[in-house]
């Protein structure tokens, strides 16, 4: 309303206020949630949430990762069933046990991951699962006959001769044929596709731009989303839930989507958007409901609030944690990322021109709403994702350390000596020219040839194997432990060997050292397991993580990257992991910690890099930064970018 020019404002004001007050009176509640509680095992996803959604409004549900937004909405949509509490639709208490139930109450949800059949057209996808109305073949035939007769009356000249009574009869039967229903199971609903026309009407009404005859596999992400929305509308939903609808869209597409949503609001539909992008919340929604750690904090009108207040509500007051954080000793650059860009499967930039430095002996935290490029960034460094452009420079701290034959062969050492990489213990340059092979081997084995400077290696376009063979000790604790990092069906011992089994020339694996390592980790980290032969899949989440982190640390890495290492862990296990990371830091390891809990990030890390939409939205000193600052940077979106 602030945008309205003064003159206009004056004349319109009385009417506006009238409308608003009237609206307040008339606005009926579409859904009302009372004391909704949902638990998963010991984790409380939603705790006594009360929420009202009105007709003809757009409500944003805002919150950090894991605050229970999606769980709450899934309960309205019939995916989950609440442990406790009631749902009222139009003032009546209802039981929603399945998405079908939800649709019977005119509630429809568009999930983040689309549920479409690739080889079908958009229209087929929308009509899928719909019950065919039964037709009597006689009635249908008659209808078609009458239709044709009306055509005959208006037809003139030559075409009139074509239409005879008998023709009309057969034509009628022919048209009706696809509608026959045989018993209960067999239906010919081929012509149901004709209903695509009625779908087109829905699309036109709200201004969707889509070709409904296109196959899903030919569609862009935004088109697929449109299909999902039309599907929900076609099924007659008045209450639409959209789970992070903008996460996959470009800014132009977001604009289009918002226009459509506004049209739907004018049509009296209630729209709920799950999101964590503050600028979009401010742009589109009438009211905002903020959730934090499963609890409903407040619902406010958008015009009465600002981004700062919302951030505060979203992240909450800072909680002091007792994490022993020491000042980094002699931090030197270990890993330098220059202008790194990584594309995801859809060809969008998952990591967009990111540059930063990780120092040895410090923990660099990476904050951000999940899915903003953290995973791709780490995988890019580890050689698991193709790096489109940019560089990953690794400083191997080799200064004054002897060169070995472990990672370099004779030829390479000779070449490096020529380029002046080495010096003798007394400080003179190494010159291997004219020396015999035997002499060089002896010098190397006696540790007489030392590195003059740190070794600098570009890791871009190197596979994990190549990185390992270069002697770069890069450890990576991936996000998805059992699909990447560990093998669920293998025993703890076998999982220990994943990194090291190649050592040695024997064709057989040596299980002795991995077994010792496994027993050591089980003892040190207090892994609860029947034995070291137990398949990892049978362990609880915390113990799986201990096994993985234990293994990754055991190789005494130079760089340790951990993605959400405490996700799903209880407090004690989490602290154990924090301590392990801190120990590594004290051993002068460069630690990269991707986390979601801001309190932990601020208390554990030395510096904090905030990612938003694949870009670095800020690098902060974790000792002085506040939660609000970080929260704001996390939700700050560059409109040109994405």
């Amino acid at each position: 309303m602030n945008n309205v020019q003064d003159g206009v404002f004056d004349s319109v004001l009385p009417i506006l206020t009238l409308i608003i007050t009237e609206e307040n009176v008339e606005r009926s509640v579409a859904i009302s949630l009372k004391n909704i509680t949902k638990t998963f095992g010991d984790v409380i996803a939603n705790n006594k949430v009360n929420l009202d959604i009105y007709r003809g409004e757009i409500l944003s549900v805002l919150g950090e990762n894991g605050c229970g937004k999606t769980t709450l909405m899934n309960m309205i949509a019939g995916i989950y069933f609440p442990d406790d509490g009631q749902i009222y639709v139009n003032g009546k208490e209802v039981v929603i046990r399945s998405p079908k139930d939800a649709f019977s109450h005119k509630i429809g949800m568009v999930h983040q991951h689309f549920k479409l059949v690739d080889v079908f057209t958009a229209a087929d996808n929308i009509l899928l699962g719909e019950k065919m109305p039964t037709f009597s073949i006689k009635e249908e035939a008659k209808k078609a006959e009458i239709n044709l007769e009306s055509v005959m009356i208006t037809a003139e000249g030559d075409s009139k001769k074509k239409y005879t009574k008998a023709f009309a009869k057969y034509y009628g039967k022919l048209v009706a044929l696809p509608f026959i229903k045989l018993g209960k199971a067999i239906k010919f609903n081929h012509l149901a596709r004709k209903r695509a026309d009625s779908l087109q009407k829905i699309a036109d009404k709200y201004g969707f731009e889509i070709d409904l005859k296109k196959k899903i596999y030919d569609m862009s992400v935004s088109e697929k989303q449109t299909v999902e929305i039309i599907k929900v509308l076609y099924k007659g939903a008045d209450i639409l839930i959209l789970d992070e609808p903008t996460a996959v869209l470009t800014p132009q597409e977001i604009k289009k989507l918002f226009n459509v949503l506004r049209k739907m609001r004018e049509d009296g539909k209630s729209i709920i958007i799950i999101t964590h992008k503050l600028n979009e919340v401010m742009e589109i929604s009438d009211r905002v409901a903020v959730l934090r750690k499963g609890e409903h904090i407040a619902t406010v009108r958008t015009e009465e609030t600002d981004e700062k207040q919302l951030t505060e509500m979203m992240v909450g007051k800072k909680v002091e944690l007792n994490i022993d954080r020491k000042v980094p000793v002699d931090p030197k650059p270990r890993l330098i990322i220059n202008n790194m860009t990584i594309l995801n499967k859809d060809g969008r930039k998952a990591v967009d021109d990111v540059s930063f430095v990780v120092n040895g002996g410090e923990i660099l935290g990476i904050a951000g709403i999940s899915g903003n490029g953290q995973k791709e960034l780490l995988e890019g460094i580890a050689g698991l994702q193709r790096v489109e452009s940019g560089e990953v420079i690794f400083h191997n701290p080799k200064k004054n350390k002897p060169v070995t034959f472990y990672h370099k062969d004779l030829k390479k050492i000779k070449k490096m000596a020529e380029e002046g990489f080495f010096h003798y213990p007394d400080g003179t340059k190494v010159d291997l020219k004219g020396k015999k092979k035997k002499e060089i081997v002896k010098l190397v084995n006696d540790e007489q040839i030392l590195f003059y400077e740190d070794e600098i290696i570009n890791l871009r376009h190197k596979t994990p194997r190549e990185i390992q063979e270069l002697g770069i000790k890069l450890s990576f604790v991936p996000e998805d432990r059992l699909n990447m990092g560990l093998v669920g069906n293998m025993s703890i011992v076998d999982n220990m060997m994943l990194r090291s089994y190649r050592k040695g020339k024997s064709i057989f694996v040596n299980r002795k050292r991995p077994k010792n390592l496994a027993d050591h980790i089980i003892n040190e980290l207090e892994v609860v397991t029947p034995s070291d032969q137990t398949p990892v899949r049978r362990l609880s989440g915390g113990n799986v993580q201990k096994v993985l982190v234990g293994r990754e640390i055991s190789s005494s890495p130079k760089v340790l990257m951990a993605a959400y290492p405490v996700r799903g862990l209880d407090i004690n296990s989490s602290y154990l992991i924090y301590n392990l990371l801190n120990q590594q830091k004290e051993k002068n390891v460069a630690v990269v910690y991707v986390g979601e809990d801001l309190d932990v990030l601020l208390d554990l890390c030395d510096r904090l890099l905030v990612l938003s939409g694949g870009q670095v939205s800020g690098i902060l000193d974790a000792r002085n930064a506040t939660k609000e600052e970080v929260g704001f940077l996390m939700t700050k979106h560059n409109v040109q970018g994405v």
Binding site: Q86, V95, R465, L498, I507
Partner: protein
């Protein structure tokens, strides 16, 4: 309200995944399944032969253990099935669904037969046998590696590919047979170049297969290659994460599979059959072997047991079929019943069946021990009543 909703939500029968079965329990369950399958075979058989269950069991045992030769034959047939099972195992452990063992064995046999046809009698038998063996191994390996390369490079569907290769192998063999014996009945017999007897006609093959089985067991369990292919099978992403070259592992493993299939073909053509035929040479072993391998959970040592059981049923019922003039289909039916029940028992090792009434009973018990629901619910109900 909660109880009401839960009751409506509960289906009549539900399958629940078991945590883990104790070893003795699973052995007992499998033994029970074996006995049950025998029992059902007996019932079906007595219905067909109208001779009663006693006849079925006595003939079954007699057909397998009746004479010394029959016992030898039992182990011999077991060995021939086992070697194909051993051959398919590494691929299956890698989750490469190679159903083309039939063709790979046949091509191995064809290569061997080619050597025997053109070189048999022209050179020393002890010089010829290595040539036959090597050519069989190469033939089998080529047949197996073609789908592997396509899978590794272009991610084609290995199941269809290997299946189709079977037909090509059969047609190729048929073509060669008509070339060699244009007026024959589709079988070519070889008199020269057959494997020499060691002890009796069976022993040599049994020893070879036993050795290969143990080697394969050690390869899968202790070697680096075996470890790599297990990781690739379990999780390709983890394999990439630790830097395994997945394509290389796929191709290498399939070459190994093909080599062993080739050896199987060599043993069949130059040892057992001393002849070659389009379909009867391998006689479906390539497919039965998959079941054998799977039932043994891809452990070559367990496969000796599963293949022995399969051959036991096959031979025993074969004897009944011969005596009663029932034809081959009879023993196929019996083997089918056997597999059906054994595979079904595998299901109950992983899952248990829970009925609705037992769940509700438990829920009732649980409700008695738990204090009543919080007060909020009753409040709301009162409100509703007022509204009404």
């Amino acid at each position: 309200m909660k109880a009401k909703a839960n009751k409506a939500h509960e289906p009549f029968v539900r399958l629940v995944k078991r945590k883990e079965m104790k070893v003795w329990q699973s052995i007992l369950l499998r033994a029970g399944a074996f006995l049950l399958s025998l029992l059902i075979c007996g019932i079906v058989s007595s219905l067909i032969t109208r001779k009663g269950m006693g006849y079925f069991f006595t003939t079954l045992v007699d057909g397998v253990f009746g004479t010394k030769r029959r016992i030898w034959n039992l182990f011999h047939e077991t060995a021939l099935l086992l070697i194909v099972a051993v051959a398919v195992t590494p691929a299956f452990k890698m989750r490469f669904w190679n159903i083309g063992a039939e063709g790979q064995v046949l091509i191995g046999g064809l290569c061997c037969a080619t050597c025997m046809f053109y070189l048999g009698g022209k050179m020393n038998i002890y010089a010829l046998i290595p040539i036959m063996l090597v050519s069989s191994m190469v033939g089998g390996a080529i047949w197996a590696v073609i789908p592997a390369i396509f899978k590794a490079k272009w991610n084609t569907n290995e199941t269809l590919f290997t299946l189709m290769m079977n037909y090509i192998a059969a047609c190729l063999t048929g073509f060669m047979i008509t070339t060699w014996a244009p007026r024959g009945s589709g079988v070519v017999y070889f008199e020269k170049g057959n494997l020499p007897k060691v002890g009796n006609e069976f022993l040599l093959k049994i020893i070879v297969v036993a050795a290969l089985t143990v080697i394969m067991w050690a390869y899968l369990k202790f070697s680096k290659h075996g470890y790599e292919l297990t990781v690739v099978g379990e999780s390709e992403r983890t394999a990439k994460y630790i830097g395994i070259n997945v394509k290389k592992v796929i191709i290498r493993t399939l070459i190994l599979c093909g080599i062993i299939c080739g050896i199987a073909g060599f043993l069949l053509v130059s040892g057992t059959n001393q002849s070659i035929h389009k379909t009867d040479t391998v006689a479906g072993r390539g497919f039965t072997a998959i079941l054998v391998s799977w039932l043994a959970h891809f452990n070559p040592l367990y496969m000796t047991v599963t293949s022995l059981l399969v051959i036991f049923i096959d031979q025993g019922t074969g004897q009944i079929a011969t005596l009663q003039g029932l034809g081959n289909s009879y023993s196929d039916i019996m083997t089918g019943i056997f597999f059906f029940i054994i595979i079904a028992s595998e299901f109950f090792i992983n899952y248990k069946v829970v009925f609705k009434f037992s769940v509700l009973k438990k829920a009732k018990k649980f409700a008695e021990t738990v204090p009543p629901a919080p007060e909020i619910e009753t409040e709301v109900k009162e409100k509703e009543e007022v509204e009404e």
